[in-house]
Point group: C2
Chain length 243, copies 2
Amino acid sequence: MADGFAGAPPGFRPLYRQVKALLIQRISDRQWLPGQAIPAEPIIAAELGVSQGTVRKALDEMAAENVLVRRQGRGTYVARHDEARILFQFFKIVPDGGVPVFPDSRLRSVTQGVADAAESRALALAPAAPVIRIARLREIAGVVAISEYLTLPAALFPDFPGEDVPNNLYDFYAARFGITISGGQERVKAVAASSDDAAHLGLVAGAPVLLIDRIAHALDGTRIEWRRSYCSTEACSYVGELK
Amino acid sequence: MADGFAGAPPGFRPLYRQVKALLIQRISDRQWLPGQAIPAEPIIAAELGVSQGTVRKALDEMAAENVLVRRQGRGTYVARHDEARILFQFFKIVPDGGVPVFPDSRLRSVTQGVADAAESRALALAPAAPVIRIARLREIAGVVAISEYLTLPAALFPDFPGEDVPNNLYDFYAARFGITISGGQERVKAVAASSDDAAHLGLVAGAPVLLIDRIAHALDGTRIEWRRSYCSTEACSYVGELK
DNA sequence: TAGTGGTCTAGACCACTTC
DNA sequence: AAGTGGTCTAGACCACTAG
């Protein structure tokens, strides 16, 4: 293993973190693809010349961060964006008296343009960089509950389709463009619905709706998507865990 | 170590989880108090007749759940509800262009009564069980931004003061009543502000505000507090991490 | 200098899955 | 039966804190 030395003693990087960084690199480089099993612990350990325990500690951390999925007796897999996984991990809107369901989408438009100031800032792009904009509605339990607007850096999504955009976008980003969303941050506010959104959501203009402002990034931290979801909370809520 | 056997082989409980359960019990029983250091790993290992590695795995899990704080070279401590910790862990409202700050409180009222249906359900109490109700306002950056209402089971809070309730409630619960909040769930909605809340928040009646509905529980899962916070998001947001 | 948690190793055995 | 991850042990050494 390379030690990754750079400077003074205060900088100390444990071996297992170096192993982890190397394995993340392999996933980021698409040497190991989502859904595939990675080599068994003893194999990786022998290849890198470290003990199995060290590899294990790296793998355990990656599993804790939902980058890998470990299954006793079967193997260790690169995580996939199954609907079930997204539902559990990225989708915090749940119907009030029921179980979480993955919402259906109705595409409204896909357009190309250049980033405005807010988009450049949100996605850390150069001014006027080309972007793709998507508008769509989402149904929860058969009722339109969300009107959302997305902005993507066009450079990362060559030949993005103008229609037939799938419901599960993160799965689509991975399958079609090799981009895996690994995390993000959301800021939630209460705002008055625009007359346009209100009409779609079956509300009167000015009714209170949730604005969920999300910036999602890839494994290496690159910002991939800026999403603004206007959500009626008549029959559903945004949930947060305190731990 | 007791094996905790009860039935058939399918039920398998690793040794380190039994250790963890026992240590949590000691904290729950207040044998080890918040802020105190617990015995060093080799001491606990010898006492329980397990290896240090097994104790370590239990302690690491508890540290990951914020029940313990480990400090290299110093020791392992039972977590305290410092302002800094609550701010980071339980308080998800942040000012829009600044750093998170712990909000000041203005107490409005403390009353005693019997639980209504909603309160009984939220706190899993018997119908008409005695409860304590608190109403207060909270300031972020000098501006009243939150109007909140709390309900507590009176049985757990004997001789609760009618005034001079501190700003940091979770610290107060721990110091005065020996109750440590360890987690909870929040459901967030957008609603129209009542005329009373709107007046306190400096909004017009009916303006959109965030309703944050929180149920907080202790280490052993007992429900301790039901809190409804009506929050103006003019200058702050509710943040959520996606991981 | 002594004591703490943090890392790393090596090896044994267990539980689960698949063939 | 073979192969995987999961648990448990024992011991060495490192990094950090305190006296």
